[in-house]
Amino acid sequence: MPESKVNRRNFLKIVGAATAAGTVDMVTYKAYASTNSAPNGWKGTSGVAGSSAASMANTASPPDHQWAMVIDLRSCNGCKSCTAACQKAHYLTEDQTWIDVFTMTDTIGRTYSMPRPCMQCENPPCLHVCPVHATFRTDQGVVLVNQGRCIGCRMCMAACPYQARYFNWNAGVEYPSMPIKPTPEMPVPQRLGTVGKCTFCVGNLNDGLLSECAAGCPMGSIYNGDMKTDVGVNSMGNTIKLSEFLYDNDAVTFKTSQNTHPRVWYILGHGQNLDNDDQAS
C-alpha cells in the first residue's frame, strides 16, 4: 500500500497533536461521557495497570494512550489482507491467524466477513487463568504474553471466548536473525511450546504507526484508536473522533454477555447479530 506510509505518518502527527491538545479533548470527552451513555460502559481513560507484570514487561512508557480498535464491517470485503500482513510481520505459520477473518451468517441467511483480532479485554479471562502470570495487561490496556515465562499449559486457550490464542505447536516458519530478542510486544521469533496472540502491534502504535493489520487493510475497515486522545485512524487516512464515531454508528462489542469488556468495537450495518453466543453448527 503506497499511501499507507503517509497514513502512518499522519497517525503519528494526529496522535501527537491530540496529545498536545489533550486537556481540551479530555474535557470534551468527559462531558460527552457524562451526558451520553457511552457504549458498553466504556470508562475511557481508566487504564488498569498490569501491576507487577507491567513493570516486568518493559512497557516503560506512561499511559499516554489507551489503545483500542474499530472494525467497520460495512466495508470489510473478507480479502484477508489483514491476516497476511500480520503473519508476515510476526513470522507466523498459516494456522496462526492472530487476526482471523470469519465468514459469518447474518439473521437473514446471508454471509459477511468479520475480522477477529485479540479483543484486548479489560477483564481478560486468559489473564485470570494463567498459572504463572505469563499473560499480563499493560497500563496502555494491551494484553500481552511473556513467551519467556509461559509454560505452555494452554489454559488461556480454554478460557478465551474469542478463540484468539494460538499455540506454537511446532518449530514454525523460517525467520531471519533478529536484531533484538523477542519481547512481549514483539514476540518474534515465536518460541516453541508457548502461546502467542495478537499484540495490537503496540510497538507500532507507540511509534505512531498503524498496526500491521490496519495498515494492510485495502478497504480501510480497521481503525487503530486511542481512547485517551479519542482519535482513530485507518489505512485510507480517515481520522475519526473515536467516541463520536462509535456512538453515531451504533458500535458494539463482541460477546458482551461474557463480561470481558473488549477494546475492539465493531460497526455493523447488515443485520448482523454479533452478540450471539449460539454455537450454531
Binding site: V132, I151, G152, Y162, A171, V195, Q279, S281
Partner: protein
C-alpha cells in the same frame, strides 16, 4: 459378629476352622511375603521386560515430542487439550478410587477389605505419581514447570490443581506407609542381623521400632483413622479442582456446576475398577485365591456398579441441562450423533451397561466376569474423559467447522507407557513389601469372631516372638479395637 457370607466359597472353607489357627497365620505371613521371598519366576521377568520396553518407548516418544513440539502428538489450535489431559484425569482418577475405596472400607470397618487394602493403596500411590508425571508431556514447556512455584498466580485453577495434587500425593504416601509399619518390622526381624544396607534402611528404619505393643497399635490405629478421614476430602478436592480447569472457562460443555461431582464420581468408578484389576492380577500371579475370593470381587463389583449408575445419572443430567434450551446444542449433537458419537456410545455400552449386566446375572458374577467388566470400565472411562475434553475444545466458538484431533504414534506410545508403568511399578514395589497387611488380616476378623481374632493375635504374637525373641502382648478378646473392627460388618 460373623463376617463370613452364608455361602462360603470352596477354596476358603477351612478358614473358619479354629483348629487351623496357626496354619492360617502362618499362611497369611507366607502368602503376604510370597512376592518378596521367592526369586521372581520366568513370567515375572518376561512381564517386567516387556513393560519396561513400553516405558522406554514412551520416554523416547516424549523426547521426540520435546524436540518437534506438541504437533507431533496431534495437537492443534482447535484441539489444544486432548489425550494427555485425559490421561492425567484418568490416572489421578483411578488413584483416587483406590485411596477412597480403601479409606471408606477402613472407616466403616468392612473387615472383608483386609486382603485388598495394601494392593489398593499401592495402586493409589503408583497411579497418582504416574498421573502427576503426565502433566509434563501435557505442557508445551515442561522445563519451566517450576514457574508455577516461582511466579504463582493464585487465581488460576491450574495453580490450585498443582497444590491439590501435591497435597494429595503426600497424603497418599502416608496412607500407604502407615499400615506398612508393622509389616516392615516383621520383615526386618525375619531378615535378622545379616541385612544389607538398603534392607536395613528400608525395613529397620521404616518400621520405627515397631514391637506391636498395645500402645503402638493404638497410635497406629488412630493415625490410620485420621489419614483415612483426611484422604477423602483431599481426594474430593483434587478432582473438584481438576474439573474446575474445565468448568471455570466459558466454554459450552465445560462451564457447568455439575462438573466437580461428575469428576469425583468418575474417579471413584474407574478407581474401583482399577482395584479389581490390580487385585485380580496379583491374585493370579501370586496364587492368593485362598485369601482373595469370589466374594471380594462380587462386593467390589457391587460397589463399582453402584458408582457407575451414579455416573450414568450425572452424564444424563449434564446432557439434558446442556441440550434442552438449544443454546449449546452444537456440542451435544457432536457428542451424541456426530464425530464423537462412537466414543460416547462405547462408554454407554461398554462402560455402563456391560458392567451392570455382568453383575446382575449370577452366571457372570464371578472373578472372570467382574475382571473383564473392570477392563471395559477403565478403558471406557478414559474414552469418556476424551469425550468430555475434545468436543468442548474443538467446537467453533465463533463460526466455521469443527476442529479435530488425530492420534499419532507419539501420543499413543506415551499413553501406553503410562498404562504399562502401573503394573511395572507395582510388580517392583511388591518385591520389597508384603502383598497385604499381615496385621490387618489377622485383626480384621477374617476368622469369624472376636475370640478367634484374639486367638489368632496370640498366634501371631508367638510367631513374632519366634522371629524376634521378644515378648509381645496380645490384645484381649474384649479389646474395643478388635471388637469395633468386626462389628462393622
Amino acid at each position: 459378629m460373623v463376617v463370613m457370607d452364608n455361602k462360603i466359597e470352596s477354596d476358603q472353607t477351612d478358614i473358619v476352622d479354629s483348629d487351623a489357627d496357626e496354619t492360617w497365620v502362618n499362611d497369611v505371613t507366607e502368602s503376604a511375603m510370597r512376592s518378596m521371598r521367592n526369586k521372581p519366576g520366568k513370567a515375572w521377568w518376561v512381564a517386567i521386560t516387556l513393560l519396561g520396553l513400553v516405558i522406554v518407548a514412551g520416554v523416547i516418544a516424549w523426547i521426540y515430542q520435546l524436540k518437534h513440539g506438541l504437533a507431533s502428538a496431534g495437537y492443534n489450535d482447535r484441539a489444544f487439550w486432548a489425550v494427555y489431559i485425559a490421561d492425567v484425569i484418568t490416572f489421578i482418577g483411578v488413584s483416587y478410587g483406590g485411596a477412597v475405596t480403601s479409606a471408606i472400607l477402613r472407616l466403616t470397618g468392612q473387615s472383608w477389605r483386609a486382603p485388598l487394602t495394601r494392593l489398593a493403596e499401592a495402586m493409589a500411590l503408583v497411579t497418582v505419581i504416574i498421573g502427576g508425571t503426565f502433566i509434563f508431556p501435557h505442557l508445551g514447556r515442561p522445563d519451566r514447570f517450576l514457574n508455577i512455584v516461582i511466579y504463582p498466580n493464585f487465581s488460576s485453577p491450574l495453580f490450585w490443581d498443582f497444590m491439590a495434587i501435591l497435597t494429595y500425593t503426600v497424603a497418599t504416601m502416608i496412607f500407604f506407609y502407615l499400615p506398612l509399619i508393622p509389616d516392615m518390622a516383621v520383615v526386618s526381624k525375619m531378615l535378622g542381623e545379616k541385612k544389607k544396607l538398603w534392607q536395613k534402611f528400608l525395613y529397620s528404619s521404616l518400621s520405627f521400632n515397631w514391637l506391636g505393643s498395645e500402645k503402638q497399635k493404638k497410635a497406629l490405629h488412630r493415625g490410620l483413622t485420621i489419614i483415612s478421614l483426611l484422604i477423602i476430602p483431599l481426594a474430593v478436592s483434587v478432582h473438584s479442582v481438576l474439573s474446575w480447569a474445565f468448568a471455570l472457562t466459558s466454554r459450552p460443555g465445560w462451564m457447568e456446576t455439575v462438573f466437580p461431582p461428575y469428576f469425583v464420581i468418575a474417579a471413584l468408578y474407574s478407581g474401583t475398577a482399577m482395584v479389581v484389576l490390580v487385585v485380580a492380577g496379583f491374585r493370579k500371579g501370586y496364587k492368593l485365591q485362598r485369601f482373595i475370593t469370589d466374594r471380594h470381587f462380587v462386593r467390589l463389583g457391587y460397589l463399582m456398579v453402584a458408582l457407575g449408575l451414579v455416573y450414568l445419572y450425572l452424564t444424563f443430567a449434564d446432557l439434558v441441562t446442556e441440550g434442552y434450551t438449544g443454546i449449546t446444542t452444537g456440542w451435544i449433537k457432536q457428542t451424541v450423533t456426530g464425530s464423537y458419537a462412537p466414543a460416547f456410545w462405547f462408554y454407554v455400552f461398554a462402560g455402563e451397561l456391560l458392567p451392570i449386566f455382568v453383575v446382575a446375572f449370577k452366571k457372570t458374577r464371578n472373578v472372570t466376569g467382574i475382571t473383564v467388566a473392570s477392563v471395559f470400565v477403565v478403558i471406557s472411562l478414559w474414552v469418556k474423559r476424551l469425550v468430555i475434553v475434545l468436543p468442548a475444545a474443538t467446537q467453533p466458538l465463533i463460526a466455521g467447522a469443527w476442529g479435530s484431533y488425530h492420534f499419532t504414534w507419539v501420543s499413543i506410545t506415551i499413553t501406553l507407557a503410562g498404562v504399562a508403568a502401573i503394573p511395572f511399578l507395582l510388580m517392583i514395589m511388591f518385591r520389597f513389601i508384603p502383598l497385604f497387611s499381615i496385621e490387618e488380616m489377622e485383626e480384621a476378623g477374617e476368622l469369624g469372631s472376636v475370640e478367634q481374632v484374639s486367638a489368632h493375635t496370640q498366634v501371631l504374637a508367638k510367631i513374632l516372638a519366634k522371629y524376634t525373641g521378644l515378648e509381645v502382648t496380645a490384645p484381649k478378646a474384649s479389646k474395643t479395637l478388635t471388637a469395633s473392627e468386626t462389628e462393622g460388618k
